[in-house]
């Protein structure tokens, strides 16, 4: 996925001179995950540069540069390292267009390597999407595949408003090839990754492969599970999600973040509201526990895996049919 993102940045920078990339170690090093590899060499220090080590400064600089006509794409080195920039993101990046009656729109992309599964030490594995999704004015995107990583990053850079771009870091080293000539997926549109007749798994980002794995295992046992990949958390694609659940009558939301007051909770509420008369069982959530992200030796117990998903699917009141 790092390669797909790198290609997206290259293609965007080639297509539009106003696209600039900056952050910590994104220059000659190419970023700690190599997503910006070679951009400084290709486009020069003016287009891709290292900043001092200060996340609020990076976000604030991006806001000012966007005010003056550029399209900054900034990297927050890790999910939890983005928190110093929280005020700049929530009070300024998210609100500028509204404050100024739409006169100052900020086409800024904040790339956040996020979530766990890489054996990272503390503060390197947070799933921070709820903070951003809760903030009006932000568009929040989380690709689950290399093809979507490419397409959604291109779409995010072209988006007229700020986008929080959540990159599931455990998939950075996936080498799945991307056809960059394909049409760019629109922001705000979910996709049915796997149609299913018996129940629908709803996931985004790093939880999509987990859900697909669970569906594979269920199929072997004769149960047909569908998987919807949100791709965009904000805007939320109710139409795709609700249509699938209405068809199957059963839904499980799968996400890595702690479940309390989470995006998973939001999805469950929307499905309950929108599919009430179609539901055969309560909507269930399989999420991270409500504890800080665990140390590497314990993360496999924390992360929602296919087994936990299938155990929850088993509880969807199948005898009621």
């Amino acid at each position: 996925m790092a390669g797909a993102l790198n290609t997206a940045l290259r293609d965007a920078m080639t297509a539009d001179d106003s696209v600039v990339v900056f952050g910590e170690d994104v220059g000659p090093l190419g970023g700690v995950f190599r997503v910006t590899d070679g951009l400084t060499a290709t486009f020069g220090e003016q287009r891709c540069f290292d900043t001092p080590l200060a996340e609020a400064g990076i976000a604030g600089l991006a806001i000012g540069m966007a005010m003056n006509g550029l399209r900054p794409v900034v990297e927050m080195q890790f999910d939890a390292f983005a928190y110093p920039a929280f005020e700049q993101i929530t009070s300024h990046l998210a609100k500028m267009a509204n404050r100024t009656r739409g006169r100052v729109r900020l086409p800024v992309v904040v790339r956040v390597p996020y979530a766990g599964g890489i054996g990272g030490v503390e503060h390197h594995c947070d799933s921070s999407e709820a903070y951003y999704a809760h903030t009006p004015g932000l568009t929040v995107v989380a690709p689950s595949s290399n093809a979507d990583a490419y397409g959604l990053l291109r779409a995010a850079i072209e988006h007229p408003d700020p986008v929080i771009f959540l990159e599931p870091k455990k998939h950075y080293f996936s080498a799945e090839q991307v056809d960059t000539t394909r049409e760019v997926p629109p922001i705000g549109r979910a996709v049915v990754r796997r149609p299913g007749a018996d129940a629908t798994l709803i996931a985004y980002g790093p939880s999509v492969p987990v859900a697909l794995g669970a569906a594979e295992m269920a199929a072997a046992e004769g149960r047909d599970l569908g998987v919807v990949d949100l791709r965009s958390i904000v805007p939320f694609d109710d139409a795709t999600v609700l249509a699938e659940v209405r068809r199957t009558g059963r839904a499980v939301v799968v996400a890595e973040a702690p479940g309390f007051a989470s995006v998973a909770s939001e999805i469950a509420a929307r499905v309950a509201e929108g599919c009430f008369h179609h539901l055969e069982a309560p909507v269930r959530r399989v999420t991270g526990f409500d504890v800080p992200y665990p140390p590497p030796k314990l993360e496999r117990h924390y992360l929602p895996g296919a087994e936990r998903v299938l155990d929850t699917v088993d509880e969807l009141q199948w005898d009621h049919r």
Partner: protein, 356 residues
């Protein structure tokens, strides 16, 4: 650099102070500043009155700081940018933004009432120091685009404690961004005095830590401010990087009308600053120089009064707010949720209309 005390070209009585390195700005430019400062003072008074009448929710007055407000705006060229805080309404007006639009925020009609891109004046920032990194961004983008734009970024003494102040100055220095940081040291952050904010010998001294010049200037001396800020703007425009300017001034009024300054400072202290008023000083100087007589002074006061009257009338007029605007600007294309919520509110309003 700041050991000799603030740079001062006019004494409190308007007399010229000998200075080896700086010469007095031309009289016409000082007279122009005086005219705008009189208007600024009048707007400060008017806004206070409008709060008492309930027309404005609140007003953080810059009375006593009009020299900083006016000269900061006056130092800029048409293509330059100003980044004001909530206390810098007069600076925004001096930059050419209609005072009625400046006061939109405090009148409660909307947040930013003017077009920042048209005026090159950023929205007034209420969270402290958060606008400073934006100022650096505008400046750095200008450099990348090959424009010689300079950005004047305003903040107060309290804001120098914020992380964003540090990050902005460090970024500006490292990027050699064309920014002038003007700290109006008015001695109080709401109630907290400077001594609880910083024990640096001066706030201008902080420039050393960032590798940029730090200049301490008498903030109630429009002539000294004019020279210092002009020099900093020219330096930035020439590609020599940012400057930190500390203006030694005083907030003559409470933080806002909602504040009670008697709880934290003595009247005697305020009385000490009254004779150092920037307007008194500049008026005395211009009169002594013979460029301002009774007639001109009266004409300037009348013009300020006429503008105040225009602003008062405009703000007294009923300004209908549009509920649909709650949703209109959040996204370039409203999300389905926001669109649905806009429709819900419209339906509620239509139903209420029917009941009437």
């Amino acid at each position: 650099m700041t050991r000799d005390g603030p740079i001062r070209l006019l004494a409190a009585d308007g007399a010229v102070v000998e200075d080896q390195r700086h010469s007095l700005p031309p009289a016409e430019s000082l007279l122009a500043h005086y005219r705008t400062m009189v208007l600024g003072r009048r707007l400060n008074e008017l806004a206070g009155a409008l709060v008492r009448q309930g027309r404005l929710a609140v007003y953080p007055s810059s009375r006593g700081q009009e020299a900083c407000q006016v000269v900061a705006a006056g130092a800029l060229r048409p293509g330059d940018w100003l980044f004001p805080t909530y206390r810098d309404s007069v600076a925004a007006a001096a930059r050419g933004v209609d005072a009625v639009e400046v006061l939109t925020l405090l009148a409660g009609d909307w947040h930013c009432g003017y077009d920042p891109l048209r005026h090159r004046v950023a929205p007034q920032a209420t969270p402290l120091a958060t606008q400073l990194p934006h100022a650096v961004g505008v400046a750095h983008a200008a450099r990348l685009k090959g424009e010689d734009t300079v950005v004047m970024a305003l903040c107060g003494d309290g804001a120098t404690s914020e992380g964003d102040f540090h990050e902005a100055l460090n970024f500006a220095a490292v990027l050699r961004a064309p920014v002038v940081f003007l700290v109006q040291n008015n001695k109080y952050a709401i109630s907290v005095p400077l001594a609880r904010q910083s024990v640096a010998p001066s706030l201008a001294d902080k420039g050393v830590g960032y590798g940029m010049p730090g200049v301490l200037v008498d903030g109630n001396d429009a002539a000294a401010l004019s020279v210092v800020l002009q020099e900093a703007v020219e330096r930035a425009a020439a590609g020599a990087g940012p400057t930190l300017v500390e203006a030694d001034t005083y907030r003559l009024e409470a933080h806002t009308n909602a504040d009670d300054a008697a709880r934290y400072r003595a009247d005697a202290e305020v009385s000490e600053w009254q004779p150092r008023d920037p307007l008194i000083r500049l008026r005395a100087h211009l009169r002594a120089e013979g460029v301002l007589d009774d007639r001109a002074d009266a004409e300037i006061a009348e013009a300020a009064e006429a503008e105040a009257e225009r602003v008062r009338t405009a703000l007294a007029a009923d300004s209908p707010v549009d509920p649909a605007e709650l949703f209109a600007h959040v996204h370039a294309r409203p999300t389905p949720d926001v669109a649905a919520q806009a429709a819900l509110l419209q339906a509620e309003l239509a139903a209420q209309e029917e009941i009437r």
